[in-house]
């Protein structure tokens, strides 16, 4: 065993998935598989024995399932646990249960749920293992230095990518008082994720939360989650209430929503988490027309750090970053 490597235990009852994981992690020489087990009980035993840096865990396994195994591991031999989830209603719900049981993060098995292919699953898996294996703290215990929205903020938008649920929760837990509507826009195309994300926000933060609907007013001080894979315009109605308008907007991941939010808000605050950074480059022209308070997640705090850095470089070539978990981007003079 090479102690300089990230020591990985694979808990997976599908022989093909075990082989796939074994093949995928070859991309990163710093990852070493130290054990492979086929059920939750074995995962607990081997975790106790080998004390791996990280465990990839399937949710459903014979005997002890991945949720109960995670709970026992976190009690008996704490380790970083990366859940493999499926994107069905129950799959997402079970994954969030596993996170509450102590699992650290999750990765979707289903390339059918979005635009993932074997190449992106391989890259994401290795990236997550490296990120967590090198000692990053879980989002469930992480504090974010979230700025206080300025009093004139009339709309707060949080953008995240697939897998941002935990970071969204962490941000909302550390967010100070807000009087304006808060909208979460994420680019996960799996519709099942939306309801689970709403459930997760409701259970782990102080915010009232619901799914956005056509012409449903956005409640001030509450969180509205955009339906997955849907885009909308956001505007004020005659009564001055913020509403979402889905009419005539093709499916997508929020370009119309973000552009209309930028245009309609007197003072928009945009909190950008990891994958949500993809939207920034396209929004740059809108930002040039109207000031937006932009909070971005420190790339060092992101499971996929390059995403934020590259998007910012494209959108704001002169943006200077300070080192904080969540901070306003500063325009260089």
């Amino acid at each position: 065993v090479d102690t300089n490597k990230i020591r990985l235990l694979v808990a997976e009852d599908s022989a093909y998935m075990q082989m796939a994981i074994r093949t995928m992690v070859k991309i990163d020489p710093s990852i070493q598989i130290v054990g492979e087990v086929k059920d939750g009980s074995q995962a607990v035993e081997v975790a106790r024995l080998l004390k791996p840096d990280i465990i990839t865990m399937d949710v459903n396994m014979p005997g002890l399932n991945g949720i109960d195994a995670s709970r026992r591991i976190m009690t008996e031999a704490p380790s970083v646990i990366l859940m493999f989830s499926t994107t069905t209603d129950k799959g997402v719900a079970r994954t969030l249960q596993a996170l509450e049981a102590g699992a650290t993060d999750y990765l979707s098995k289903s390339s059918s749920a979005g635009d993932m292919d074997l190449s992106s699953i391989t890259t994401q898996l290795a990236t997550r293992i490296r990120f967590w294996g090198l000692g990053a703290r879980p989002y469930t215990t992480r504090r974010m230095a979230v700025p206080t929205p300025t009093p004139d903020t009339d709309l707060l938008v949080i953008t995240g990518g697939a897998g941002s649920a935990l970071a969204i929760g962490a941000l909302l837990r550390d967010l100070g008082p807000v009087t304006c509507p808060v909208v979460v826009s994420h680019d996960d195309m799996a519709s099942e994720v939306t309801l689970s994300l709403i459930d997760y926000i409701a259970r782990t933060t102080r915010f009232a939360v619901r799914e956005g609907g056509h012409r449903a007013p956005l409640a001030p001080g509450a969180v509205t989650v955009m339906p997955a894979g849907r885009d909308a315009r956001v505007r004020r109605d005659e009564a001055g209430r913020w509403i979402l308008d889905f009419h005539g907007i093709p499916p997508g991941c929020g370009p119309n929503f973000l552009r209309s939010a930028t245009a309609a808000a007197a003072r928009l605050t945009l909190a950008c988490l990891s994958g949500g950074a993809r939207q920034l480059a396209a929004l740059a022209p809108s930002f040039a027309e109207k000031p937006v308070a932009l909070w971005i997640q420190d790339p060092a705090e992101c499971a996929v750090p390059d995403l934020v850095a590259e998007a910012l470089a494209l959108a704001f070539p002169h943006t200077r970053l300070t080192s904080a978990p969540m901070m306003p981007a500063e325009r260089a003079a």
Binding site: M17, I27, T86, D89, K90, S110, S112, D117
Partner: protein, 113 residues
């Protein structure tokens, strides 16, 4: 150390092997569902019903692995059966509607050709 192209070639070969095996897996799931539906038609599934639990695990494995290998139609059909079985196990004594599971099994068979 392998580069991405080598890894993807290995994964492609693994996917081909999985796809070939999946024909048998779908057949076993179809048989399992038929047996389950035949044995519980009048009383529903009770908690801890081992045949239902085993079928759920098999559907879960197939859904996850097929999803990873990009076989989306097979994955979603298997996941639908998995969720249906979970519903049946979670709601004991619900009268089992054979046609629902048959539909998912047919979707799996169509996906695997």
């Amino acid at each position: 150390v392998s580069d991405l192209a080598e890894i993807l070639a290995e994964l492609d070969a693994l996917r081909d092997a999985f796809r070939a095996d999946a024909v048998q897996q779908v057949g076993a799931i179809a048989d399992g569902w038929a047996a389950l539906a035949g044995s519980t038609a009048d009383g529903g599934i009770v908690p801890g019903h081992s045949a239902a639990e085993a079928l759920l695990a098999e559907s879960h494995r197939l859904a996850g692995t097929a999803g990873t290998f990009g076989l989306g139609a097979l994955s979603s059909a298997a996941a639908a059966l998995e969720d249906h079985l979970a519903d049946l196990i979670d709601a004991p004594h619900t009268v089992l509607d054979r046609a629902v599971g048959d539909r998912y099994v047919a979707r799996m068979q169509a996906a695997i050709g």
